[in-house]
Subunit: 141 residues, 2 copies
């Protein structure tokens, strides 16, 4: 099996000012359920994963925990809205190696720690027509 | 079964200037494959659905076919980037009825024709913290 490929879309991340308030809106209006909450120190955010009733691609709410969080800057500049999308990958090193080989501009040349002990890396939005794409290798138990 | 609920995330739509060029980037760099192309007259766009190798939630590229397309306006104002997300629903009338009952602000009170003969409706981004959410009931054969 080729380990250097993308699997399913894992989540769509939304920058928000008040995570609990938006959880309330999305669970009530859209019937999504909160699957997981976590503080990701490295990115200075509180996160909440919202999934449809039967599971599937999540919405990840991101609320900054500090004024120097990248999400604070995004909110100041753009207001609440979609921040990035994230694909699950089986082997993040292989995917990054392939992207580098193709000359695709990366924000992270090497993986760093994401939510749920995943290893993550971001592709530069200039390489992806304005879309910030995250790659996440989930922890294998 | 409750028909008034959301199923999986169907696609993430990206507004682009040149659909073929972006198809090339996304298929080459991310290994996605083109599953379907269609012109949606009602929304004055050319669309292309890109999915991971084994299927799953798609990226839908949207290129305007006319200057008065809503996508032309988006591109002028914001440049290329994520335009909306779309959830599959089993019964769009039930979902819209539920949303109206809750006082959720809608762009479309009644469904209109989308790609692949689906019936679609948009929730107002002001009701969804800056995120434009589409609901799509796919044609049942």
């Amino acid at each position: 099996m080729d380990k250097g490929i993308l699997e399913n879309l894992y989540h769509v991340a939304i920058a928000v000012n008040n995570l609990s308030a938006v959880e309330e809106v999305y669970t009530t209006a859209l019937g999504l359920r909160v699957e997981h909450r976590e503080v990701v120190e490295d990115q200075k955010v509180k996160t909440s994963m919202l999934v449809p009733k039967d599971g599937g691609t999540a919405i990840e709410l991101l609320e900054p925990t500090s004024e120097d969080s990248p999400i604070s800057k995004f909110l100041e500049k753009r207001g609440e809205g979609i921040h990035h999308i994230c694909y699950k990958v089986d082997d993040i090193e292989s995917v990054l190696a392939k992207l580098k080989e193709q000359g695709v501009r990366l924000i992270d040349e090497t993986p760093r720690l994401g939510a749920y002990n995943s290893r993550v890396a971001f592709i530069h939005p200039k390489a992806m027509n304005g879309v910030l794409v995250e790659l996440a290798e989930l922890k294998k138990d």
